[in-house]
């Protein structure tokens, strides 16, 4: 790779790459992020390569391996460009047929996605309801680039924003643009990114300043940052270089958890390529401006996503938050001014600078501009990553994009904001999703986890689950966080076992308020959210557990019994599968569960084809 010595060199290269491309050539796009690879994308890649080589089609059909596109439920999937044909859940045999069909200029209708609502087969990705309502400014870029090919990124307009900034932008202009775009940090707190940068730019830099990309992503079930980092690492690098130019930062750090090997691999490759082309490190594009980025791997502690703990972790110390003020912008890594932003925040920067702040601010609502990626999981048809404009309602995400409940049970609530978020009940599904409304409703935006729950979810159990996570992940420094989460868990556990009284519930609420009030960092301050929000919206369920010793959703083991009803055909399936041998009965006769042997594992219920196992 030849090092580019000037901005003109870069433009010439970009011109060459674009001229070299023939957009009419069919391209097979295989999303192979961690999710894709786990569901078999590697096999599809292998088969496709073999087919193309064997049939001598390499000039006629191109192959592009990309990061995750978001529809993880349907992976491994294949997208055919330029037509936009989408094939979900592709098998190895299907893949061979797909290559054949492309060669003949045909499509395979039997492999199309079938809308579960209408039963109609849909050919194009853009017509699938899951994609239709999304505004995919960031995720759509994952489709267009192979993360380990910088030319791919440059071809799709990458590094143009940086070139533009270096040509004419004054640093102040960059910060102004970001500020007027209204971009708020996507890592959770929603602080204005432009304002943060302005503060960093205003700090004197005798010993240098830092920019950090926070890719710790500790929320269980959330993986949007991983997908962006895996699928489009250059967008993060470009965002950080632009940020450095605007704020006068001299060093960059990407703090990424070691559990993300693919993201780290792609990032290492991308950094090497950017350096090789002269887009990073000394004298960027011959302009005299220098900035470099290094990777620091975290060991996967949730609390290390918190700014000050993250800084200590980068310094090689124990990941433990400290008092703010002084804020990282004043005193960060090694005491030097540091601005920390989330992966998604960084991914938005090239878009803002490239398309203009005004354009960016048009998406979303006032005070909450742009899009946000959520990882939509739980009792819902279409799980995956969804990118939506800010201000969309929860209902639209759950029903229009998510496709509603998987089976008959009605959707009861969504949990947003990760472990320290809150549950929002179905009657509030017209709530617009933005930082302020979610806080108002007792939850938080967090980094974008969204778990859908139906009537078979017990809210006490949910609160207990998250509290269990938090009591292990609290750094343990603050007494009220460490002991507070342990004690809240203890009480929730008692409630779930029917051993609590109303006084315990009162104590739980009282404790939750104090934990919220008296802890040092965001983890402790938000830790009571799962408890407080479930008590606020699902008080009846708590009372049922306490007064009537009943778990309405049939989840809390100590409070339920399994029994077999008249629907039983005596098929003996449950009898064979019960690990405890608690079920007895003759063939074609009603079976019976011995409650003294039953461990309430629920296997019988899940294997019965006749709806004959009930929970009481």
């Amino acid at each position: 790779m030849k090092r580019l010595k000037s901005i003109d060199d870069f433009k010439a290269l970009q011109g060459l790459i674009i001229a070299d491309r023939d957009p009419s050539i069919s391209t097979i796009v295989i999303p192979a992020g961690t999710c894709g690879q786990a569901s078999g994308a590697n096999d599809l890649m292998r088969i496709t390569k073999r087919e193309l080589l064997a049939k001598g089609l390499t000039d006629k059909i191109h192959l592009r391996i990309t990061g995750c596109h978001g529809f993880c439920e349907m992976e491994p999937s294949v997208l055919i460009e330029p037509q936009g044909t989408f094939y979900p859940k592709v098998s190895i045999e299907d893949m061979v047929r797909i290559v054949e069909a492309i060669e003949k200029g045909e499509v395979l209708e039997d492999l199309f996605f079938v809308d579960p609502e209408t039963g109609v087969a849909v050919e194009k990705q853009d017509d699938i309801p899951f994609f239709k309502k999304q505004v995919r400014t960031i995720l759509a870029r994952n489709e267009r680039v192979d993360p380990i090919r910088i030319h791919n990124y440059i071809e799709s307009g990458g590094y143009s924003a940086l070139a533009g900034v270096l040509t004419n932008g004054k640093p102040k202009w960059v910060v102004e643009q970001v500020k007027s775009s209204g971009l708020r940090g996507r890592g959770g707190a929603g602080f204005s990114t432009g304002l943060k940068w302005e503060m960093l730019a205003g700090q004197s830099n005798g010993h240098g300043k830092f920019l950090v990309c926070n890719a710790d992503e500790g929320d269980p079930g959330a993986y949007m940052d991983r997908s962006v980092l895996e699928g489009n690492p250059h967008s993060i690098i470009e965002g950080m270089i632009i940020g450095a130019y605007g704020t006068g930062a001299t060093e960059g750090v990407v703090y990424v958890r070691n559990e993300y090997p693919l993201a780290i691999k792609h990032l290492v490759i991308a950094l090497g390529q950017a350096r090789g082309l002269g887009l990073l490190s000394d004298d960027i594009l011959g302009t005299g401006f220098s900035f470099d980025i290094k990777i620091v791997r975290g060991a996967g502690a949730f609390v290390c996503g918190e700014e000050t703990a993250l800084i200590r972790s980068i310094e090689g110390k124990m990941g433990e938050p400290r008092q703010r003020p002084p804020f990282p912008v004043q005193k960060g890594i090694d005491g030097r001014p540091t601005a920390i932003n989330n992966v998604e925040t960084w991914a938005n920067i090239p878009i803002i600078i490239g398309d203009g702040a005004q354009q960016f601010a048009k998406i979303g609502t006032k005070g909450n501009s742009g899009t946000k990626i959520f990882s939509l999981v739980g009792k819902i048809k279409n799980t995956g990553l969804v990118e939506v404009p800010m201000g969309i309602t929860i209902g639209e995400i759950v029903y229009d994009i998510g496709g509603g409940p998987v089976d008959k049970a009605k959707i009861k609530a969504v949990q947003t904001g990760g472990p320290s978020g809150g549950c929002i009940p179905a009657q509030k599904f017209d709530l617009p999703i933005d930082y302020d409304s979610l806080i108002e409703a007792g939850s938080i935006m967090g980094s974008g986890g969204m778990i859908v729950m139906d009537e078979n979810t017990c809210m006490v159990d949910v609160a207990k689950y998250f509290m269990n996570f938090l009591k292990d992940e609290s750094c343990g420094k603050c007494l009220t966080c460490r002991k507070g989460t342990q004690r809240m868990y203890e009480i929730l556990d008692d409630i779930s076992k029917g051993q609590a009284t109303l006084e315990h519930l009162e104590l739980l609420e009282e404790l939750a308020e104090v934990v919220k009030d008296t802890t040092m960092c965001g983890l402790g301050q938000t830790a009571p959210n799962p408890v407080l929000s479930t008590i606020r919206y699902f008080h009846d369920e708590y009372i049922e557990h306490i007064k009537n010793k009943r778990c309405p959703a049939g989840v809390c083991k100590e409070l339920i019994t399994y029994f077999i009803n008249e629907n039983c055909t005596g098929c003996m399936v449950c009898l064979r599968d019960c690990p405890e041998g608690a079920i007895t009965g003759e063939k074609k006769e009603l079976h019976v569960i011995d409650p003294s042997k039953c461990i309430k594992c629920g296997v019988c219920k899940s294997v019965c084809k006749f709806d004959a196992v009930d929970v009481n």
Binding site: G319, P326, C478, E490
Partner: protein, 225 residues
């Protein structure tokens, strides 16, 4: 100089002063547990919380770590502060009821019972010993390890650190350790049976008179000849 109000009194302090220092300068008492003059503030016990800010933005912060800011309006004993303190003391009593320091603090704040399941732990992880060891004894022989429920004080791999001089400083500052109850004044003793006589940096075999203030020790397993 920084001007702020504490409980409606104006005070002007130097930059870098903490709220705790400013309040004490004015004579307002704020209970503390993990704070000690001569050691850097850490903010672990949260007992020293005070209320700052107005209206919906009002919040509690630990006064031992929070720096004085221009125009700040600090309340050291608002109802929110007192409610928090009581709950913190309840939590402490629930975990470490045998500590004389905690008993005294609870009594002073009219906390006479706690509502959680009783535990008997011998450390509240206040970090005084760690800071004492590092900042005053210049040894850095002990430290925190683990997180959440598993956090504890110890030495790497549980092996006595080479730099430990067995000065006993850690035991001296420990608010949970029973030695402190008797110290040199047996008449003030609230004997808990020396439940905590295992400071992490010391091996029991190596106890000598330098370290134990009680002679003979009332309940210590280690017999001295």
């Amino acid at each position: 100089m920084i001007n702020l109000t504490i409980n409606s009194l104006n005070v002007s302090v130097e930059e870098g002063t903490t709220l705790l220092e400013a309040a004490r300068f004015l004579g307002f008492h704020i209970p503390t547990l993990c704070y000690m003059d001569g050691l850097s503030p850490y903010g672990a016990c949260r007992l020293c919380v005070v209320e700052i800010g107005e209206g919906p933005k009002a919040k509690l912060v630990s006064s031992c770590t929070y720096p004085a800011e221009m125009g700040l309006n600090v309340r050291t004993a608002s109802s929110r502060v007192r409610r928090a303190r009581k709950m913190i003391l309840e939590l402490l009593l629930a975990s470490c009821p045998q500590s004389k320091t905690i008993q005294d603090l609870a009594a002073a704040h009219d906390v006479r019972q706690q509502r959680f399941k009783q535990e008997y732990e011998d450390c509240i992880l206040c970090g005084l010993c760690v800071r004492m060891c590092e900042e005053q004894m210049m040894a850095k022989a002990i430290g925190f390890r683990g997180r959440g429920e598993n956090r504890s004080i110890g030495t790497p791999f549980d092996i006595t650190s080479d730099v430990c001089r067995q000065c006993g400083g850690c035991m001296y500052v420990c608010p949970a350790c029973q030695l402190r109850c008797t110290y040199t004044e047996p008449e003030k003793a609230v004997c808990g049976g020396c439940a905590n006589l295992s400071p992490p940096c010391l091996q029991k075999e190596q106890f000598d008179d330098m370290m134990c203030y009680m002679d003979p020790c009332v309940a210590c397993e280690i017999k001295k000849d």
